[in-house]
């Protein structure tokens, strides 16, 4: 929250300089001068109808109102591997104000084929830390908090505060646990799962039971035998991000229970509706 004095300084700068756009350089100078976070400068600009340059290309789709909402959003990404990596990168570039990334794991060679934060020289580093480093490079105005533990160790407060959660996990029992946590906290969950050429994406609204209908007491699906190539991870993650952005910016008010299942080998896309 900005103080009256800080707002006045910002106001003075924007009006005095007659600013009609805002570069990263200007944002940094203002943030440093007035001693406020970079994100606060960019939010202020949006309130004045000015799109920070870094978000300029979001204008025609997300729009100014959507961008304001995104900058104020708090989301949790559970899993920072194939799905979670791309989701986090995308949310960062989009300007999602606060992102909590949760993953207890470290990178290994087998991640290199599809996990965007995995590099040849960061294997054995913690995924939660590497995600943070990457987001610092990509969008310093977004506040990323990396938590290198399993999601069931998080305080209730973190879930209750969140506007949205992304299920980027890699096993079924954890996914069901996460769905229960989100339902209790009454926060929508964007579900995504991938294997080989195939993927599925769905919005799990609080107090609904879609995942319990398709996942029972198994631990893994076909991914255990066939793995996953990068394009499946990126496709599912992009669909998940788009669904998430629609919810955060108020473009999805329908609360439908449906899943998109895609098959990249046969170019088939199925919408499955649940009761």
């Amino acid at each position: 929250m900005l103080t009256g004095k800080q707002k006045a300084e910002l106001e003075g700068f924007f009006t005095g300089e007659g600013l009609t756009e805002l570069s990263i350089q200007q944002s940094r100078e203002l943030a440093s001068q007035i001693k406020i976070p970079l994100g606060a400068v960019e939010s202020f600009a949006l309130e004045k109808g000015i799109f920070p340059s870094r978000y300029e290309r979001n204008k025609g789709s997300i729009g100014i109102e959507g961008q304001k909402k995104l900058l104020k959003s708090k989301v949790i990404v559970v899993g920072l591997g194939g799905l979670g990596g791309y989701v986090t990168e995308a949310l960062g570039r989009l300007g999602t104000g606060q992102i909590v990334g949760v993953d207890s794991g470290i990178f290994d060679e087998t991640n290199l084929n599809r996990q965007i934060f995995a590099k040849e020289d960061n294997l054995v580093e913690k995924k939660a830390e590497e995600a943070g480093k990457r987001l610092e490079e990509v969008n310093h105005a977004v506040v990323f908090t990396g938590i290198a533990s399993s999601f069931d160790k998080l305080d209730d407060e973190i879930w209750n505060d969140a506007d949205l959660v992304f299920d980027c996990l890699d096993n079924i029992s954890d996914r069901l646990g996460l769905a229960a946590t989100c339902s209790d906290a009454k926060v929508p969950l964007i579900h995504g799962a991938i294997a080989g050429w195939y993927g599925q994406v769905a919005v799990i609204w609080p107090e609904t039971t879609m995942l319990e209908k398709i996942y029972k007491n198994q631990k893994f699906g076909i991914e255990q035998n066939i793995g996953t190539p990068v394009f499946t991870a990126a496709a599912a993650a992009s669909l998940m991000t788009a669904e998430g952005v629609k919810i955060l910016t108020g473009k999805n008010l329908k609360r439908e229970q449906k899943m998109l299942f895609f098959d990249l080998l046969e170019d088939e896309w199925q919408t499955i509706r649940f009761q």
Partner: protein, 74 residues
């Protein structure tokens, strides 16, 4: 009775995409999976006439059954 079966993703391998199957009267979904040699624990989404259904569902003639494999990777 005739049941219309639609298979998806890896379930098509060695089987088919769409087929009309002869199935015993008042058989269950579990029974159909057995006939198709699809282990029930490998099934994810399972629909009859577009609605999610369980293994104990009693099939009727001309039901359309859609069977997707279990996918849980991330």
């Amino acid at each position: 009775m005739v049941i219309k079966v639609r298979l998806f993703a890896t379930f098509r391998e060695g089987r088919f995409k769409k087929k009309e199957i002869e199935f015993s009267e008042a058989g269950s979904l579990s029974g159909l999976l057995g006939q198709l040699e699809i282990p029930e624990e490998s099934v994810g989404v399972l629909l009859v006439n577009g609605k999610d259904a369980g293994g104990d569902y009693k099939l009727a003639a001309n039901d359309v059954v859609s069977i997707f494999p279990l996918i849980g990777g991330g």
